[in-house]
Amino acid sequence: MSVNMTKGQAISLQKSDGGTLTAVRMGLGWQAAQRRGLFGSRTKEVDLDASAVLFADKQPVDVVFFRHLVSDDGSVRHTGDNLVGGVGQGGDDEAILVDLQRVPVHIDQIVFTVNSFTGQSFQEVQNAFCRLVDETNGQEMSRYTLDGGGQYTAQIMAKVHRTGSGWSMTALGTPSNGRTFQDLMPSILPHL
């Protein structure tokens, strides 16, 4: 069961039994483009990229994306770049795993973003979604449907931030434009 969060809604990452979340996964999935050309070589491949930016007091400290798959401290891991998408049936084509217990003490916010590296807007991508999953039990905590969302090439999806002793998640769902997370930095900052 997934909770479709609305923009700006915050949920605490407390489990129903009172324990706190220890690991979350951001999943990103989309359907590969139709083969085009005689040999499929003119297929307009769709490459979406998931990134996570680690902030300490509004300063970016580390980024996990397809060129830097593991944060230096080892707490955030990207499972690897997918350049073409999948079957579009709900499976994650890219995922970022966050071990909340290993996140360094000064990191207080982690922002997840999605970018279209090949430049197609989300309107042109089929069956695209991104979601946050409680990695310990596989339960989906939030999900966004990206396709048909408008002429945007990026989305600032959600942030996970420290609250007291635990972590909370806030759904952001802000559309934006850009090729990689770097282009999104100006639009991320207001959300911190």
């Binding site: 397809f66 060129r67 891991r77 360094p104």
Partner: protein, 736 residues
């Protein structure tokens, strides 16, 4: 000394008249089969069993017993018999139970692990083996005695059969295996009435298994291919690296992308496979300054890390060794001789952790096909963990400091702070905030370090000689190995945050690049205290000798040869352990003539082996070509070198590693300054090590500067000469 074998491991038998002792706690049947070169039992007369207990050279008990002593005379076996399989079986018949067998267990899983030992006639144990992990099997091949190049060896097999004796005998090629099995078990059943009560249970079984861990040897040798593999063990290294992996150094020097001075390009590991399993994230992380050599592999560099750490040498990633898949279940119905790889011995299971507590560390708690590989991966795992936890700490401290500075600046510019007290309070608050964050980060770091230290405390004593520090007791009990090791310890690495936690620096063997022991004064800041450069040169040569001695000791006797160029004879003192033990092929080459002679000899070897490898004709090399790995130690470079010799040396550095010729330079780069930049590629192609602690090595994940400390013998220790004496003895005994 007894060799405690693990499954798949073998051991040389020093004599042919032996006794094999079996103890199982409950009455079991012990027997033996002979088989020929093809692993076939030629007939029922090649099976010694209770109904027919004697045959030439072999005698077994007439009945089931908890303890057996089998007499073996390998010299008296029938002609054609190349192997002796020692079998154990439970005294049960497949269908109807024999009259005397009622009540006995029907599966080995219900018994304590059977223990077998090979002893001399005087009762001294040569090798022992505890057969663990048996479950539903009712018959098991315990040991195999086999002839290899004229010498007899014993191998721990532990191959169980759920189908019992009948299945086992059929699998060994006996056409009437089931009938013979019935005959054996009937004979046992009729003898059971006379059998004595079982002795008390052996209690130390668990201890025995655990104690065998530190002496575990790699179980690399495969069953089917063992003969050819063994014969070619020296040459395999020449033939194994495919063209694509050969000599990355050469590419650096020719493609025009010359890296910054003093920095060495990361070379890909020569691991059999470059496919890391599962956690593929970290090995793919490119580093900015060697992205040139990795771009083709990984696409892009890492733009987030602009700063380039010059003069640092990146350590290679560990890579998973792949092997042919083997079944993991306890019951394996395939015949041992048809198996492609020895099944991995199970990894020691870490006890389940208490909630909220880290698990008790266990040596070998990593993936791998042998204990050696598991320990290697565990050490590299600890290396990565320490690198990352230190990165988290440093990042937190850096952030805390910069935030405090910002806040202090603010206080300074804020006019309100001029009012007495307010400014001080604000400053105090900023400092307290910084201290609190640093303290929190330190707490996390200390917790992680404590966990890693606990792990290191169990891992260090379990390391095999090739990974172990010279102070490790395993070197006192050193025996020459039968298999080449997978990696070598070059020294220790540590970070300034935790100087007590030393990570063994393990590099894969065979060496894929030369080593450079830097005797130059620029080597490190610690050199300042060593006023005397002569002292530094001596230390560098001592380090080189320690590395060379370790290489000699961890390869099977005769599989590794060391040559020395010492043109001025200045390293005579340091070389004493190598010279006096007689492990050097020839005395250290002196003078220009000696230099050119040894370089010519090694260059010829590289040329011929390269040609042979390209033509796939490694068998037709001239007999005077030594198939062993060769290491050339060059002291006092460029003394005694003319231009031709320098060219040959560079050729050896470039082409040698792929064909088993390795270089160890003990040199001060300044001495060769007159050659100018022409030698830069040579220095870059070598892995730079220092004779004194120095922080010039970077890890492949974060790029911290790690302080390297060479692996030296404890002061006053004789371990080096003791070990080398044993290597020399073994070489003489093996006639190599």
């Amino acid at each position: 000394m007894t060799a405690e074998l693990v499954r798949g491991q073998n051991h040389v038998l020093p004599q042919t008249r032996l006794e094999i002792r079996v103890s199982a706690g409950k009455p079991i049947v012990a027997g033996a089969t002979l088989s020929d070169e093809e692993g076939r039992v030629r007939g029922a007369d090649w099976v010694a069993h209770p109904a027919s207990p004697g045959m030439p050279g072999l005698e077994v008990s007439k009945q089931a017993a908890a303890d057996h002593r089998l007499a073996v005379d390998l010299g008296a076996l029938p002609s054609g018999a190349e192997r002796v399989n020692i079998l154990l079986a439970l005294p049960v018949t497949d269908g109807a139970q024999g009259p005397g067998s009622g009540g006995g267990p029907a599966r080995f899983g219900a018994l304590a692990a059977p223990f077998v030992a090979v002893t001399g006639l005087d009762g001294a144990e040569i090798a022992s083996y505890t057969i663990t992990d048996l479950d539903a099997e009712s018959a098991v091949v315990a040991l195999e005695l086999y002839r290899r190049q004229g010498a007899w060896k014993v191998r721990a097999v532990g191959q169980g059969y759920a189908g019992g004796l009948a299945a086992m005998l059929s699998d060994q090629g006996l056409p009437d295996g089931p009938a013979l099995a019935t005959e054996i078990l009937d004979a046992v059943a009729s003898g059971m009435a006379r059998s004595v009560a079982a002795p008390p249970q052996r209690t130390a079984e668990a201890d025995r298994v655990r104690h065998s861990t530190p002496t575990v040897q790699p179980a690399h040798e495969t069953y089917g291919a063992s003969a050819s593999q063994h014969a070619n063990s020296g040459r395999s290294a020449m033939t194994s690296p495919p063209d694509g992996q050969a000599s990355p150094e050469g590419q650096v020097s020719v493609d025009g992308h010359v890296p910054p001075d003093g920095q060495v390009t990361q070379a890909p590991s020569t691991a059999p496979s470059t496919a890391p399993s599962g956690d593929s994230g970290s090995p793919q992380q490119p580093e900015p300054h060697d992205s040139r050599s990795r771009d083709d592999l990984h696409g892009q560099g890492h733009p987030g890390q602009g700063q380039d750490r010059q003069g640092q040498d990146h350590l290679d990633q560990p890579e998973q060794q792949t092997a042919a898949p083997a079944s993991t279940g306890p019951v394996d119905y395939t015949h041992p001789s048809r198996r492609t790889a020895a099944p991995p011995t199970p990894a020691p299971a870490a006890p389940t952790a208490q909630p909220g507590q880290p698990a008790q560390p266990v040596a070998g708690d990593a993936t791998g096909w042998s204990m050696e590989e598991r320990l290697y991966n565990q050490v590299w795992g600890m290396f990565e963990d320490l690198a990352r936890t230190a990165a988290a700490y440093r990042s937190a401290v850096e952030f805390a400091d910069s935030r405090m500075e910002q806040e202090l600046d603010q206080v300074l510019t804020d006019p309100r702070s001029r009012i007495s007290g307010q400014g001080d309070a604000a400053r105090e608050a900023a400092r307290a905030k910084q201290a609190k964050l640093v303290e929190q980060a330190r707490e996390v770091l200390d917790r992680d370090i404590a966990q890693l230290t606990a792990e290191a405390d169990v891992v260090e004593p379990a390391l095999p000689p090739s990974f172990a520090a010279w102070g490790n007791p395993i070197w006192q009990a050193y025996r020459v190995p039968m298999e080449p090791p997978m990696a070598l310890r070059l020294g220790d690495l540590h970070l300034p945050e935790c100087t007590d936690l030393r990570i063994p620096m393990l590099i894969r063997l065979p060496l894929e690049r030369g080593l450079w022991i830097d005797s130059g004064r620029t080597a490190s800041s610690a050199t300042a205290s060593l006023a005397d450069s002569e002292e530094l040169r001596r230390l560098a040569m001592d380090t080189a000798v320690a590395h060379a001695a370790r290489l000699l000791a961890v390869y099977p006797p005769g599989d590794f040869a060391v040559h020395v160029i010492d043109p001025a004879g200045s390293a005579t003192g340091s070389l004493a352990p190598l010279r006096e033990s007689g492990v050097l092929g020839e005395p250290p080459a002196a003078g220009a003539a000696g230099v050119s002679e040894i370089l010519a000899q090694l260059t010829r070897r590289v040329d011929l082996v390269q040609m042979a490898v390209r033509a796939r004709a490694t068998d037709s090399l001239p007999p005077d070509i030594d198939p062993a790995e060769q290491l050339l130690i060059v002291n006092d470079f460029p003394h005694g070198f003319d231009d031709r010799a320098v060219t040959q040396l560079r050729y050896l550095a470039d082409e040698g590693p792929a064909v088993g010729v390795h270089l160890m330079m003990v040199a001060d780069r300044e001495d060769a300054a007159e050659y100018g930049p022409i030698l830069d590629p040579l220095w870059r192609s070598l892995l730079r090590l220092t004779p004194v602690p120095d922080d010039h090595l970077a890890d492949p994940w974060v790029g911290h500067a790690w302080t390297y400390e060479p692996s030296l013998t404890p002061p006053g220790s004789e371990v080096l000469s003791d070990v080398l004496a044993r290597v020399a003895d073994a070489r003489r005994a093996w006639g190599r």
